[in-house]
């Protein structure tokens, strides 16, 4: 009996020790044989949309810098913003820029570093029409407002004279979970439709005038596959990877543009001309001949004034790498790389990151 107690106690102690070792010093103190710079451990949380890319970045960056450990958890953009404000993480990811009142709560200025751009594709299930559906902004808004309810509506027919639109009711499908994708899409609809702006507005979750909700991109696309006559929106990357039909959307220049990486980067370049200094900008309805109008940046949020010298340095170096070498991984994973002029603006921000006035990158 007594022996068994000893064994159990032994296991408990061993377990506690293991936990203590695992959660122990965050590594800065341990010198590393590689390089010569001490090891650094960075934690980031936030948006799930760029998670696959950030994982790839972290993996590749670790090959180059084995003493820098980065951990990114996709808990959602709002979670990212909350955590960076509380100072519990080194950086955060967010699909939407922070609001002014949120920025005012920060202990020091928070920079918005765009990492890549993404777009929202309009996908549909129309028997007999597997590609080439054209939509104008007003028609798109009226479909999602519930004002256009039939595929044979004359406005849809006149936009698509070459297509044989079926005689079906339109079933609108939207995201049920709060999401950056919804934020970009509703931001776009608010810009092109005053009725939408007034009645529904922009947000990660909104009160939809019509339609049914699916959870996540897979929920939306699964629902659309089930219901002939349905239309909905998903991330462009998701639509491309799964070969979903993608509607052409009329942009500000009047051209019908397919959601592609090129058209998304074009939107980013088009918006860069009017980019504010803090880089909090919406890419929806961007000017430019080839711009796809439903697009947005995803951001990395970092403090300008770092509180730990080594971690701040590692962070600045990682950001610099992500904006340059890291961009090559974007395209293969269906994220649109940043246009050059935006990279230049972001570089200036990264140079300003400092510890007690001492900058890391000159």
């Amino acid at each position: 009996m007594a022996r068994r107690v000893t064994v159990i106690l032994g296991i408990l102690v061993a377990g506690l020790l293991l936990i203590a070792v695992a959660c122990g010093p965050r590594g800065e103190a341990r010198r590393n044989e590689h390089g010569g710079k001490p090891a650094a451990y960075l934690i980031g949380v936030g948006a799930s949309f760029p998670y696959p890319l950030y994982s790839k970045w972290i993996e590749e960056y670790r090959k180059l810098n084995p003493n820098v450990n980065i951990d990114y958890q996709s808990i959602g953009s709002s979670g990212g913003i909350n955590n960076i404000l509380k100072g519990t993480v080194d950086f955060a990811g967010s699909d939407a820029p922070m609001k002014d009142e949120q920025l005012s709560q920060a202990r020091s200025p928070i920079f918005h570093i765009p990492s890549v751009a993404g777009a929202v594709a309009i996908t549909y299930n129309l028997p007999g029409v597997d590609k080439g559906l054209k939509l104008s902004p007003q028609v798109l808004a009226d479909i999602f407002l519930g004002n256009i309810t039939k595929w044979r509506d004359e406005r849809l027919v006149s936009l698509n004279p070459d297509l044989n639109l079926p005689d079906l009711d339109i079933a609108v499908v939207h995201r049920s979970d709060g999401s950056g994708t919804t934020n970009i899409f509703t931001d776009y609809l608010s810009k092109v439709s005053p009725v939408w702006a007034e009645r529904v507005g922009t947000g990660t979750a909104v009160e939809w005038p019509t339609g049914i909700g699916g959870k996540g991109n897979e929920g939306v696309s699964g629902t659309i596959k089930q219901i002939p006559g349905s239309i909905g929106y998903v991330e462009m990357a998701y639509a491309a990877q799964n070969g979903l039909p993608r509607a052409l959307i009329q942009n500000r220049a009047g051209r019908f543009v397919e959601p592609t990486l090129k058209a998304t980067t074009a939107a980013a370049a088009g918006a860069a001309a009017h980019m504010p200094e803090d880089m909090r900008v919406s890419l929806t309805d961007a000017p430019g001949e080839g711009s796809y109008p439903i697009a947005g940046y995803t951001y990395l949020l970092v403090y300008r004034d770092q509180q730990n010298k080594r971690r701040g340095e590692a962070l600045a170096e990682f950001l610099w790498w992500a904006l340059h070498e890291g961009q090559q991984y974007a395209r293969e994973m269906f994220y649109a790389p940043l246009p050059d002029n935006v990279v230049k603006m972001a570089e200036a921000k990264i140079r300003e990151i400092n510890y007690k006035g001492q900058r890391f990158i000159e």
């Binding site: 808990i75 979670g79 009711d169 049920s176 709060g178 909104v206 009160e207 909700g213 699916g214 219901i227």
Partner: protein
Amino acid sequence: MVGKAGRGKIKDTLFAGISGLAALSIVFIIIVMLYELIEGAGPALARFGWDFLTGTRWDPVHEKFGAWPLIYGTLVSSFIALCLAVPLSLGIAIYLAELAPSWLRDPLAFLVELLAAIPSVVYGLWGLFVLVPWLRTSVQPFLGNTLGFLPLFQGPPLGMGMLAAGLVLAIMILPIITSLSREVLLAVPLSQREAMLALGATRWEAIRMAVLPYGRSGIIGAIILGLGRALGETMAVTMVIGNRPQVSPSLFHPGQTIASVIANEFTEGFNELHLSALLASALLLFVITLLVNVLARLLVWRMNKVTQGVSRE
């Protein structure tokens, strides 16, 4: 020097203390949870008051939160599930406990318990890709054509909606109710059945008049546990219910439950008030589950009293 008996006493006291602490921790956990929920829900409840219960709009952008469609969706989907699952589960349980040949009992019971082990997200996917298309192409058109005069079965057959959610929930709570009821029935003393049969009762009469009344409170307990799971089920429901906070008499229409709105919106909470409204609905779910359990206890208690009274006469 402590004698052997004395040491035994110390061990007893120690054991009683430790298990007492374990029991107390439940009370502590519930109090902490309630406190957190009430604190988090405070801003929303202060802003909307009773309108939070009766309001029908859920609009994070314009900061209008009314949970009535969520309460409605939670209760209706669980009610559909109970209506479908209870008769079926009791049938299975009675067959397994009383009628099945012995070589069939264990494999069947094993299959039922296997159903309980399937993760809810798998039920959700199955619902979305198998059940929903079947509902849309076969069941809903049929119901609409034959019973379409009832408000329950009106509207376009989308497949997704309250009916799909109720069906998935029914399948999910089936194994809980079945296996618990089976245990209860097996616990009924053999003498009860034998007495009944000795009086000349048929097998059905013995089950109806001796076995079921004896196990009644246990069966109700099983049903309540099933209901508890249905009320709180999140993932599977979210994938098939259509996620539209509305109150509609038609089972073909999409709806929304408290658990699914929390799962959907909590990670990307829009602002403080939105998060607070979500916590307030969590508190609501807590209260609903509590009420259901208390009601069930009262029911069981009352029934036991009645049957005891009968047997004493």
